[in-house]
């Protein structure tokens, strides 16, 4: 059993893959009464952040097992350091209520139903994540100073301080809106960056406004010959006309694109207009 604990320190990957559930963590806790405090806080972490707990705990183990053990040693050496962990726990509770935490949860994995698939998923994600060269930074943040309050899990290779998280959330929202606009504005392809997209959007809005202006001029010109006083049933007429024309078009489509037939139908529709 002692071997098991040592193993869990050194080789977190297989440990994670084999039995990534609460049970394993309980075992871990039982085996190491010294680092009980840490595990207790880890448990509490897990209840609030089922995703990332294993991720942050074990990711750092994976990258640098020494720092993790160093951390545990620190917690063991002084009971004072146990205090901040507990205080951090309460802070974690507060933070868990904030939106940011939820966003991070969502961002690190899509599913939040059970812990085990999440853990394995994050494990896979970690492996697949090509290192972005920010290992050292994330490890530094993991060495929690007693003053730091925000405990969040981040993907491997990404910074964990609150500013970059907020930035990430903000960027995600902006990208979502940009994608909506991409569908609306014609001539935008997915690989476009922000600046090009904005160019297209500005051009499109300007062209629409010009179009409206031009049409309003056309309408004023066309409406000079219209007798507005006898307008009472004009709207009904217009809507009736619209419905009729829609039906005509439908009929045309159904009968197929017979050239002569189409021409004949168009003629009939134009004579309709003299009503």
């Amino acid at each position: 059993m002692a071997d098991f604990s040592e193993q869990s320190y050194r080789q977190p990957f297989p440990f994670l893959d084999i039995d990534p559930t609460m049970e394993s963590l309980t075992q871990f806790a039982e085996l190491n009464p010294q680092s009980f405090i840490l595990d207790n806080s880890a448990f509490n972490f897990q209840t609030f952040f089922p995703l990332s707990i294993n991720d942050s705990l074990f990711s750092n183990q994976a990258s640098q097992g020494e720092t993790m053990s160093g951390f545990i040693h620190n917690s063991n050496q002084s009971s004072v350091s146990a205090q901040p962990i507990f205080s951090a726990k309460t802070e974690v509770e507060e933070i868990s209520n904030k939106r940011k935490a939820l966003d991070i949860l969502e961002s690190s994995s899509g599913n939040s139903s059970s812990s085990s698939p999440q853990v394995s998923e994050t494990g896979i994600k970690r492996r697949n994540n090509s290192g972005r060269g920010k290992r050292a930074k994330s490890n530094e943040k993991e060495m929690e100073k007693p003053k730091e309050v925000v405990h969040v899990r981040a993907r491997r290779g990404q910074a964990t301080d609150s500013h970059s998280l907020a930035e990430r959330v903000r960027r995600g929202k902006i990208n979502e809106r940009l994608r909506c606009l991409q569908d609306i504005v014609p001539g935008c392809y997915k690989t476009m960056g922000m600046a090009l997209m904005l160019d297209e959007i500005i051009n499109y809005v300007q062209s629409l406004q010009n179009q409206v202006e031009f049409l309003s001029m056309k309408l004023t010109a066309a409406s000079t010959y219209y007798d507005f006083n006898s307008e009472s049933d004009a709207m009904e007429r217009m809507q009736r006309r619209k419905a009729e024309e829609a039906k005509e078009l439908e009929r045309l489509m159904r009968e197929g694109y017979v050239g002569i037939g189409g021409v004949a139908c168009f003629h009939s529709s134009s004579t309709y207009g003299s009503l």
């Binding site: 809005v205 409206v212 309003s216 409406s223 219209y226 217009m238 809507q239 207009g273």
Partner: protein, 150 residues
């Protein structure tokens, strides 16, 4: 954004526009394109039912406010600019490219002069959808009038 694409909304807008047009024609004999443009914009804003910023801005600041353009205040140019130390600001002025474009967009969409990037993009998408509907309605009415169907 989805409400600007339904046929029902289109019909509502067209009918309201036409009624407003007739009313304005009956009250004032002058037939200016600008007036029509304004009424069209206002009816569009009414159709939006006050959920978006641009619609509220259109309704809040009407009645021949189009010609009263604010003069953009530029730095006062005194005679001795050359004698002063030339401050190299040229690079810094050009750096935030995205910011400049956002500023241009803010000028285009009514009522969004101080919005954040996030909200601005949301307003823009709604505004674009509304403008498209306006274009469709205006073309339809023009067509009917010119064909003599109304």
């Amino acid at each position: 954004m989805k409400r600007w694409t339904t046929k029902r909304e289109h019909q509502i807008y067209s009918s309201k526009l036409f009624q407003a047009l007739c009313r304005s024609r009956r009250t004032s004999s002058s037939t200016s394109a600008k007036e029509l443009h304004q009424t069209a914009d206002r009816v569009l804003a009414i159709t939006a039912k006050g959920t978006t910023r641009w619609s509220r801005a259109i309704l809040a600041a009407p009645l021949t406010a189009g010609t009263n353009m604010k003069k953009h205040k530029k730095a006062k140019v005194t005679v001795h600019t050359r004698l002063r130390k030339p401050v190299v600001n040229r690079e810094k002025r050009k750096l935030p490219v995205v910011e400049r474009k956002l500023r241009a967009l803010r000028r285009l969409v009514p009522g969004c002069r101080k919005l954040s990037c996030n909200n601005l993009l949301e307003e823009t998408s709604d505004y674009i959808a509304a403008l498209e509907m306006q274009v469709r309605a205006l073309t339809a009415i023009t067509e009917f009038l010119s064909r003599g169907l109304l």
